[in-house]
Symmetry: C2
Subunit: 251 residues, 2 copies
Amino acid sequence: MSGPGMTGWVTVAGLGPGDEDMVTPQVRAALAEATDVVGYIPYVARVAPRPGLTLHASDNRVEMDRANTALAMAATGRRVVIVSSGDPGVFAMAAALFEAVEITPQYLHTDIRILPGITAMLAAAARAGAPLGHDFCAINLSDNLKPLDVVEHRLRHAARGDFAMAFYNPRSASRPHQFDRVLAVLREECEPARLMIFARAVSTPDEALRVTTLAEARAEMADMRTVVIVGNKATRRVGNWVYTPRSAVAP
Amino acid sequence: MSGPGMTGWVTVAGLGPGDEDMVTPQVRAALAEATDVVGYIPYVARVAPRPGLTLHASDNRVEMDRANTALAMAATGRRVVIVSSGDPGVFAMAAALFEAVEITPQYLHTDIRILPGITAMLAAAARAGAPLGHDFCAINLSDNLKPLDVVEHRLRHAARGDFAMAFYNPRSASRPHQFDRVLAVLREECEPARLMIFARAVSTPDEALRVTTLAEARAEMADMRTVVIVGNKATRRVGNWVYTPRSAVAP
């Protein structure tokens, strides 16, 4: 028996890229203890129903509603898991939860835990070889919350610093031309032979991996289920693998 | 029965930051099938001995020897897991393995798999809140394979692009003063109130988390078991948590 506010908690848990064998035991344990699971429809669909568990699936782009729902339920004693794909701290629900807590400070008393998961760029990198084996950066290309000129500014600094790059949310139906602009900026900053990896739906039945060069890359190679990796100056192929050596090229 | 070259393989597996509940089931399965486990002494020590399994623990800084040992054993039909802490593709053994394959092309025929793990920066971020909730980069501060001027060049671009940053291998006994130089560069590029997190041995019994500012940061706060996270311009505290909002500050 749990009374209001006595035992409630919110855990934000990363389900990894899709393969159930990449879900950590600590995430499984949190799901087993939960009374409620909150999240975007396809992520909640990955949680098996059971007696005593209520599934709250919601559409995309309602992250703040979802965070507030979870916090309000925890305040009444519910044990709530917010599910994210990948890692919840990488362009996912953890930041949204803290935004909600900041807006409604009484939620600061909530028992909150963030449980990491296998994030998409690292699952994709593992399938391709080791393209992120040296210094790298992760950039969310979605412009929902970020103007395109910020994206462009970061791309140029990432290229000039010779970071490998991983792009999340590279392209969607609502912004089909943005990734063309990203490719144009990369072509100004990097050589045509620069290796790129388009990794779609890694670890799921829909997985598709394409290795190409910046010269050959086309925006149509990406969709919302794709993570795009751009190598650094030293990234190379060995057989069918792509890897970045551990030693750096001089600046 | 396995004949030479018939069923051998090399799997590079990420053990995560330390907590056994963060090891994925696919990594557990690979360890269960292995005849040999190869790796740095403290990582091999995390693998339970069993009949039929040979443990090959080696010292640090012999990554190429370790990769060649694993590839040579696989060629004789052994099933070899190279263990890394964290994720094998992030400043760990996956890149070293492909360097070894490139040098000895007959190893291209080896059945190789890379299995991702929870990398230290994401485990640390989860403990702190969501400091990597917006665009970020990961930089290995070890100068074993990279001159310090490359590190400095990357730090400046990361700061000017307003990336949050995660530093691996920030400090060691053999280079005690390097992290002072890193802090000096950051102080030239970022405001004194910039938030920093020193996360030591996350998810182990030795875990220690310290949140401070760039003004208050001291090199002695880091050692080789520490991951250091530097927020971006918008990173803030909410209660005891540190998070980076999903929306960007203009460049």
